[in-house]
Amino acid sequence: MQKMRFLVYASLICLLTVINSFAAETVRRVVIYDNLVTEIGAPPASLISVDNSDLWVTLADLKRATKFVLKPQGVCRDQLCFPIPKKRRTAFLSQQGSVTWFNLSEFARLLRQPVAHDVETAVWYFGPRAEEQNGYLSSFTAPNFKLPDMSGKLHSLSEFRGKKVLLLTWASW
């Protein structure tokens, strides 16, 4: 009897967890792409998978969150275009009434881009690809970071081109 009660409770907890995460994805999602934080609308219920492994976005949200746009030749940003595999087109695009939805997480898998997802808060973080990072490393160019001065004014590394920079970390204890 006790075992049965335990199984019922365990099932209820699992169900509530699934419902809770499902609910988070149906309200709003936050996408962080190239450090840009964008809140995007919820997809129709038919596009929410139980395991929350897919992030479907409208083409307008795709552009707002990532600067990528859908073109006949593929998904493009500036001069860079990634063709959508013809045989797997439905994994990337879904027409729901008059709205075209794009599977941003599937696109990340195609590019081998790392994605971290917090199911409870519906936050999706898209990180730089290893190959992209290694591009910096092969040239040994320092990333163009910004740091505040003593009065809080931000300065970027690029302001110091033409000068040697000693980037020293210290603590004020």
Partner: protein
């Protein structure tokens, strides 16, 4: 950068010529570190005077030996860490913990992921460890990049 004081040298074109390493510029911790600050200060002076010809400017080969290339697990760890940071700064510290842990699991050698997570939480409660315990496990091996000035230049 996982400890202080450390420094990176970046040349006029924005290129790293010495990656992050220990950079004591005075001798207040010499009794603990056995590091003479003058050697490092002289190396900086040599770089300022001689630029790319300074022996302290590392060759491409030396740089490659000191900067590890990314792999897919490390890239995923960086994404998990980025997500954890976002959640923490949104006031969702409880939600951030599992992502800090995942970053640490995927890139166990990164002390950035460890120190940041421990500093933002009750490390014992949330991670079952703390900074001093983990340092002791290293048996004296530094968790940060040690200073590696060329031997011949130490006599300059």
């Amino acid at each position: 950068m996982v400890n202080v004081p450390t420094a990176v040298w970046i040349n006029e074109r924005g290129r790293i010529v010495r990656p992050n390493e220990v950079a004591f510029v005075d001798n207040r911790y010499k009794s603990m570190t056995q590091l003479e600050a003058d050697e490092y200060l002289n190396a900086i002076r040599d770089w300022v005077a001689n630029g790319e010809k300074s022996a302290f400017v590392l060759s491409e080969q030396e740089l490659k030996g000191r900067i590890a290339p990314q792999n897919s697990e490390w890239a995923q760890a960086a994404a998990e860490f980025g997500l954890a940071e976002y959640l923490y700064h949104q006031g969702k510290s409880a939600a951030s913990i599992s992502h800090y842990k995942e970053a640490q699991r995927l890139n166990p050698d990164s002390w950035n992921y460890k120190r940041q997570a421990w500093a933002l939480s009750d490390a014992e409660r949330d991670y079952g460890t703390n900074f001093m315990k983990e340092v002791q496990k290293l048996n004296g091996k530094p968790y940060y990049a040690p200073r590696q000035l060329p031997e011949i230049k130490k006599q300059k």
